[in-house]
């Protein structure tokens, strides 16, 4: 019973969520990701400087997952946390 309720709410959230989802698509978001990730890893605010990218990341799970992964690796790298894994 609960599952269906949950499903319905997810669907409605998705349909009626008021986010702006037509500013950027995945391709135009993805092609600038490395450049933005460097700046954000260096302390810039995504929300202030690239709100349209942030808007896309908020509503696109795939792009968000890749963005977060890239950012976490860059941060680890600049903190010297990337070591050679031992076999």
């Amino acid at each position: 019973m609960g599952i269906q309720d949950e499903q319905l709410r997810k669907l409605i959230d998705h349909i009626f969520d008021s986010h702006q989802d037509d500013v950027l698509d995945c391709d135009s978001c993805g092609c600038q990701l490395e450049c933005l990730a460097e700046k954000v890893a260096g302390g810039a605010s995504l929300r202030e400087m690239w709100p349209e990218v942030e808007a896309h990341l908020m509503c696109c799970r795939d792009c968000r997952e890749e963005w977060q992964a890239l950012l976490c690796i860059l941060r680890a790298e600049s903190n010297g946390q990337l070591s050679t894994p031992e076999k």
């Binding site: 019973m1 609960g2 599952i3 269906q4 309720d5 499903q7 319905l8 709410r9 997810k10 669907l11 409605i12 959230d13 998705h14 349909i15 009626f16 008021s18 989802d21 037509d22 698509d25 995945c26 391709d27 600038q32 990701l33 490395e34 450049c35 990730a37 460097e38 696109c60 799970r61 795939d62 997952e65 890749e66 977060q68 992964a69 890239l70 976490c72 690796i73 860059l74 680890a76 790298e77 946390q81 990337l82 070591s83 050679t84 894994p85 031992e86 076999k87």
Partner: protein, 217 residues
């Protein structure tokens, strides 16, 4: 580890065999360290794997990622560090691989508007305990109208995509693959589907505000 400039990376990766081999090896190692970090620190879904399994996984993925970087060298525009761009590609390779493994059995075939995902006579919504009988009836009624709207306003493709992505949390990439399209096209298709549904539902008296109020927690 030598820190190369972007120009050095490009020159060496396309240089004479011995120079290229060394640069490739360093690139691969670098990508592997990044992927390993990501898999071991950020992926709770891999927590059951041993460290050596993750190491092996990172090694394989780094190999694939290095090949992908080489295939795409021409598209590097130079507006970031070369290694950041390569890491972006590696992240895509790794995450795509994880998605494919996780959803290898996923099929769109049983997602049809006639299926039982959102049955017309859905009694499930009455199950929420805090709802009074009137609210529950109202929600049941709205539920039926939503089901009808999904059938009437959307194409089969739009319906399948919407349910897979919004309800079943399947990655766009996977749904796009099953549909024989790409993620960007699917994103646009979903955008159109949402807009179409909202417009249709408004004409049925199901405004955004009304829906949000009715289904808010």
């Amino acid at each position: 580890m030598i820190d190369r400039t972007n120009e050095q990376w490009l020159a060496e990766l396309t240089g004479p065999p011995d120079v290229q081999a060394l640069a490739l090896e360093e690139l691969r190692g670098r990508l592997q360290r990044g992927i390993f970090y990501y898999l071991s620190r950020e992926r709770s879904d891999l927590a059951d794997l041993s460290s050596s399994e993750i190491t092996q996984m990172a090694e394989d993925l780094a190999q694939d990622a290095t090949l992908r970087v080489m295939e795409n060298l021409d598209s590097f525009r130079g507006d970031s560090r070369f290694t950041t761009w390569a890491t972006k590609i590696a992240v895509r390779v790794a995450i795509s691989d994880l998605r494919r493994a996780r959803y290898k059995d996923f099929s769109l075939d049983n997602l049809t508007a006639d299926g039982d995902l959102l049955p017309a006579n859905a009694t499930g919504v009455t199950g929420t305990p805090e709802l009074g009988p009137e609210d529950a009836t109202e929600r049941d009624d709205v539920m039926q109208r939503i089901t009808a709207a999904l059938k009437d306003a959307l194409t089969e493709r739009q319906y399948q995509a919407l349910v897979a992505v919004a309800v079943q949390d399947v990655p766009l990439e996977i749904v796009a693959e099953r549909m024989g399209t790409n993620r960007n096209a699917l994103y646009k298709l979903l955008h159109d589907a949402r807009r179409k549904l909202r417009t249709y539902m408004e004409t049925q008296g199901l405004s955004t505000q009304y829906m949000m109020n009715l289904f808010q927690d």
